[in-house]
Amino acid sequence: MTASMERILRREMHSSRAPLAGLAATVVALLAIYILLEAVLRAVGQPPWLVDPLAAATNLASLPAGVSPLLLGLIGAVVMLVGLVFVLNAILPGRRARHAIANPRAAVVVDDEVVASALARRARLAAGVTREQVMVVVSRNLVQVNVRPTSGIPLDGDTVRTAVEDELDAMELLPRPVVRVALAPMGVVGV
C-alpha cells in the first residue's frame, strides 16, 4: 500500500511529458510518411511527388552549394532549438507546482495556487486589510507574502508571519516552504 502510494505521489508531483511526446511522435511520423510516399513512388516507377530520393541524397551531399548560407544556418538553428527543447524536457526533473500533504489514508497533492489562496486569506485576516492588498507567491521552498498596509494604520509584520506560519503548520506540506513576509514601504489610500 505505502509503496504504491509513494509511486502515485512521485508521479503526481512530476510532469508526464505526454503532450511533448505526442508532438515528437507526430513530427517523426509525418516525416516517415513523406519518405514512405517517395520511396513507394520510386519503387513502382512513378515520378516523384516533391523530390526524388536519390536526387535529394545528392543535393544533401553537396550541401553548402545551392542554398544561401544564411538560410541553411537559420534552418540549422531552428532544428537545433527543437532538439534542445526535447533534450531539456527529457533531462530536467519537470516538477509541477504542487506540494504533498501528509495523510494516513490517501496520497494528497495540492496545487500551489490553492495553498497561496488559503495563505493569502489568512494573511489578509491577520493584517486586517482588503484582498487587493495581499499577494502570496508559493514556490517549492518559499512562501513570499507581500502586504501593502493601509495608509495611516500601522501593521506588524510578525503578526502576519505568525498567522501564515500557523496555517502552514496546519497544512503539513511536504516539502515545507519557508515564509518570508514583505511589507510595502508605501501605504494604500482610499480602501
Binding site: 505526454a18 511522435a25 511520423a29 520510386r42 541524397a57 496520497a107 494528497v108 495540492v110
Partner: protein, 206 residues
C-alpha cells in the same frame, strides 16, 4: 497517476532531441565553416554515390524500381506504427472494475465471483462531494496501477479554502467508503485550482 510510460517518454524525447541537435549543429557548421563544408562533402558525396550504385544493382527485373525502396518503405511503415503505439500509450490505464475476488465454498458457502464496478466508488464519492459548498467541482476516476485499481479524487476548492481541511474531509469520506466496501484501494486526493495552474510555475494569488 495514469499509465503514461514516463521512462519511455524521457528516453525517446532524449533520442529524438539528440538527433535534432546533431542535424542542426551539422547544418550550422556546414553553412558557417568552409572546412566543415569540405569535410561534409568529402564524406557524403561518396556515400550518396554508393547509395545510387546500390539502388541500381538491386533493381527489380522489368521495372525501374529497386528492392532498396521497398526496404525503405517497410522501415518507414514500422516507424509510423511505433510512433502510433507510443502516442496510444499516453494517458492510458482507466479501469472499470474496482475489485474482483473469487469466492469459494469455505468463504460463505457459495462458490462464484464478486466484482464491484469502479462506478460504485466514483458515484458514491462524487455524490458526497457535490453537497459541499466550498468546492467548485469534483471528479472521481479509477486507474489501473500495476494491475491494481486506484481511485483518483480531483477537487477544485473555492478561493481561500484551506486545502488540509478539504483533504481531511475527503479522506474521511474515503474511509467511510472503505467501511462500506470492506477493503481498501490506494486513493489519490488531488486538490487543484483549475486548468490555469498547469501553465505556471509559481502561483500568485491576491
Amino acid at each position: 497517476m495514469n499509465g503514461t510510460p514516463r521512462g519511455a517518454n524521457r528516453i525517446l524525447l532524449a533520442l529524438f532531441g539528440l538527433v535534432f541537435l546533431a542535424v542542426g549543429a551539422l547544418l550550422i557548421a556546414v553553412a558557417a565553416f568552409p572546412a566543415a563544408a569540405r569535410w561534409w562533402q568529402g564524406w557524403a558525396k561518396p556515400a550518396a554515390e554508393s547509395l545510387a550504385d546500390l539502388a541500381h544493382s538491386t533493381a527489380l527485373p522489368g521495372q525501374g524500381g529497386s528492392w532498396l525502396w521497398i526496404a525503405v518503405a517497410v522501415a518507414m511503415v514500422l516507424l509510423v506504427i511505433a510512433m502510433i503505439t507510443w502516442v496510444a500509450n499516453q494517458g492510458k490505464g482507466r479501469a472499470s472494475t474496482l475489485v474482483s475476488t473469487a469466492g469459494d465454498a469455505q468463504d460463505d458457502g457459495a462458490a462464484g465471483r464478486v466484482a464491484i464496478g469502479a462506478a460504485v466508488a466514483e458515484q458514491a464519492l462524487k455524490t458526497a462531494l457535490a453537497e459541499r459548498s466550498d468546492l467548485v467541482g469534483s471528479w472521481v476516476t479509477t486507474y489501473e496501477l500495476r494491475g491494481q485499481p486506484a481511485v483518483k479524487v480531483r477537487v477544485l476548492p473555492r478561493q481561500g479554502v484551506a486545502p488540509h481541511t478539504v483533504a481531511a474531509d475527503v479522506a474521511a469520506l474515503v474511509q467511510a467508503l472503505d467501511e462500506v466496501l470492506g477493503f481498501q484501494t490506494p486513493v489519490l486526493i488531488s486538490i487543484g485550482a483549475g486548468a490555469r495552474s498547469r501553465f505556471t510555475k509559481a502561483e500568485r494569488v491576491r
